[in-house]
Amino acid sequence: MTLAEVLMSTLVFALAANSSAQLWGSALSWNQRAEQRQEALHRIDLELLQRERALRLAAAAQVKAAGDAGAEVPMSCDEALAWMDEQLAIARSPLPQEVSLATALPPAPALEAVSEAASAEDPPALWLTASGEGIERRRLFAPAAHGLCRP
């Protein structure tokens, strides 16, 4: 065993150990980030679907009550939009810190001209948007699709 061999072996091992440590470090941080995003995705999913379900159930109850009272539809579509906002406020449980929920009348901000033209003759509807951690989920909720009004 010569000194040169020892030095060479040490150098090779040190380089490999250093590269390996860097790769492990970056893999672990990627993993952590992916896990955080995954958790955020599940939270956002839960928030969005819970609110959509609350709206759906409230709409079904409203339609049934109107049917029992002999009315064909409970309200006008514009009234239905305001009613939906109220229902969302009632159903709103505290959101996790990272998740924000918004409602907006279409066209949604990111859609612009194409959607504006497409939705010009559509009955009024609300966009339910949930976002956080750079993830955004949005779903349309149209009162007419749930029997709340007739356009």
Binding site: F13, N31, A118, R139, A144
Partner: protein
């Protein structure tokens, strides 16, 4: 006369060669294990991205179903009792000149959708929801939705509920 015994002399070459291959071997194992962990992390990120994309496609289809159901509860309510194959030819109860195009395809949130089929539902005591099948033109993802209808003759049918029922 006894022959002199030759003792084995350790070979300098064999002794000298063991450290370098050992360090190469250990280094290779270290690097390969780190690379495999990195590959697994990449795969995890890719799966998370695919899951997000899948949920967004679901959102787009659910939004498209809301749009179609809303249109079918308005001026296109006359199409509710007819299967979608008949919409173009036999829209008898509809206003003259009414086109079925707005309920056959459209765009919601930058995603283009297409109605694959509509099977009419039955209102009343033996109620059965209508089945609406939609697909996104990007990726050819399909979903099935149930559309509850109400109404009795002579009044036209109307939409009273919408929910997703799977693929």
């Amino acid at each position: 006369m006894a022959l002199p015994r030759v003792l084995p002399v350790p070979s300098r070459g064999a002794e000298a060669g063991f450290l370098l291959p050992l360090s190469f071997g250990v280094s290779l194992v270290l690097l390969l294990s780190a690379l495999s962990v990195q590959t697994m992390a990449l795969q995890g990120s890719r799966l998370a991205a695919a899951e997000l994309e899948q949920r967004r496609l679901d959102d787009a289809l659910a939004s498209a179903a809301e749009q179609v159901a809303a249109r079918l509860s308005g001026s296109h309510a006359c199409l509710l009792p007819l299967a979608s194959e008949l919409w173009e030819s036999a829209a008898g109860g509809c206003a003259p000149g009414l086109s079925a195009a707005p309920v056959l395809s459209g765009q919601v949130d930058a995603a283009a959708w297409r109605l694959v089929s509509w099977t009419p539902g039955v209102p009343g005591a033996a109620a059965r929801p209508g089945e609406l099948r939609l697909e996104l033109s990007q990726g050819k993802v399909q979903r099935l939705f149930a559309l509850d209808v109400a109404g009795a003759a002579p009044w036209p049918l109307r939409v009273v509920g919408l929910r997703g029922i799977g693929r």
